[in-house]
């Protein structure tokens, strides 16, 4: 019978159900007849029409807790209008449940541009819209500070002394004339002078190479600074 009722719930007709359970056809017809009888009589057990109206009239005006909250909201709203102030409302559930006062913090709404701007920026941060941009800014700042520290340290101790003046020295050496005339001493002097010049040029080249190495190290330092894991 439970299966027959399930089939009835699924929308099968009495004939279809009886066909599925032919051995119980008589009982199924009787029981479905009882169901039909009950449904035909259900309006006989309806309440009097005036009862609903009476109950609704006698209900409390509104649900107490809800009413209290609504009244407080209305009061706060009125205060905002009256004081022209921005209000931040902190509702303490416990004190509210106990019928206590609702804490209200009032901040004068002076409409100053700075206040509005700071609030807007805060809202923006709050919504994480600026977060990616700020992350990039922070990385750049940290990288700048790190590179400054590297330059400072290396500038004092590791920077080759020739590096700064190498171009000046090269210009001075290049401008000196080489003399091959006259006596052997002059020739030797001239050779020595040329050797000195070549040595100077070699030093200048070495200094430039050191400078390149130094720049590379500095760049490596910058690369390390950009490592996100170290932030």
């Amino acid at each position: 019978m439970a299966d027959a009722l399930r089939l009835k719930d699924e929308g099968k007709s009495l004939r279809q159900i009886a066909a599925i359970f032919p051995e119980n056809e008589k009982e199924i017809e009787e029981l479905f007849g009882v169901v039909a009888f009950m449904k035909s009589k259900k309006d006989e057990f309806a309440p009097s029409r005036s009862l609903l109206g009476r109950i609704l009239q006698e209900l409390p005006e509104s649900e107490p807790a809800k009413l209290e909250s609504l009244e407080k909201k209305a009061l706060i709203s009125e205060q905002m209008e009256a004081n022209n102030s921005r209000q931040f409302v902190i509702i303490d559930n416990e004190s509210e449940a106990a019928g206590g006062e609702v804490n209200v913090e009032t901040i004068p709404k002076n409409n100053s541009a700075s206040q509005k701007t700071s609030l807007k920026v805060w809202d923006y941060f709050h919504n994480f819209k600026l977060a990616p941009v700020m992350a990039v800014v922070v990385v750049i700042l940290v990288a700048g500070v790190s590179s400054y520290e590297i330059w400072g340290k290396k500038g004092a101790s590791e920077q080759p002394p020739v590096a700064q003046s190498s171009l000046l020295k090269f210009a001075a050496v290049a401008s000196k004339p080489t003399t091959m005339a006259g006596a052997l001493d002059n020739v030797l002097n001239s050779i020595n002078q040329d050797l000195n010049n070549e040595t100077s040029l070699f030093d200048l080249g070495t200094a430039d190479a050191n400078l390149v190495t130094f720049d590379k190290e500095a760049l490596n330092g910058l690369t390390n600074t950009y490592n996100e894991n170290s932030l």
């Binding site: 029981l31 259900k42 006989e44 009862l51 209900l59």
Partner: protein, 186 residues
């Protein structure tokens, strides 16, 4: 229940939860009759049923902000409150069907006095027969065949499995058939 009806009902429930008394009234109007009928069968007299349904609605009204719409009919919510109220108060059924005002609230329009009397007698007999069922059978039969709740909703209200609800239905219907047969023979 159709999706559209459920959607409208959900909107009503949300309004009612926010203190909209008109929304409350509409919900009550929708569920008033089935709930009254359930209480009436369970307590057996109109006076007790009227007192109890007022209490049930007041309780539901005061706690409605806690109600969560889960897709089932809010009728289940009211039924649960009604059932607990009946149990808490330990109301006993009063078999006062001899009183003429017990089952006569809605006579069909255009019925002759004889037809009205016959309908009234049928209703009284049905009420008596249902009262002879066990409480669980009564719950299931009333919710299912008078108020049209699904087996799932009934199972939720009664805290039973759907299979158990189906068994109670078939057993209740068999008992009801036998009781009605006996009463017809008397």
């Amino acid at each position: 229940m159709e999706d559209r009806t459920l959607k409208e009902l959900k909107e009503l429930v949300e309004k009612a939860k926010n203190g909209d008394k008109e929304a409350f009234s509409l919900i009550y109007q929708k569920f008033f009759t089935p709930l009254y009928r359930y209480i009436y069968f369970r307590v057996g007299s109109k006076e007790d049923a009227e007192d109890l349904i007022q209490e049930v609605f007041t309780k539901a009204y005061l706690s409605f902000s806690k109600f969560k719409f889960t897709g089932s009919s809010p009728l289940a919510y009211f039924y649960t409150i009604a059932r607990n109220t009946i149990i808490d108060q330990g109301r006993k059924k009063k078999h006062n069907i001899d009183s003429d005002d017990d089952v006569d609230s809605h006579k069909g329009d255009g019925d002759s006095p004889e037809e009205s009397a016959a309908k009234n007698e049928d209703a009284k007999m049905l009420k008596l027969a249902i009262e002879e069922l066990t409480e669980s059978e009564q719950d299931v039969i009333i919710m299912k065949f008078f108020d049209g709740l699904s087996n799932k909703e009934i199972a939720e209200i009664l805290g039973k499995e759907e299979g158990a609800v189906r068994q109670l239905q078939s057993r209740g219907l068999r008992d009801l058939r036998d009781i009605l047969k006996k009463k017809n023979e008397q």
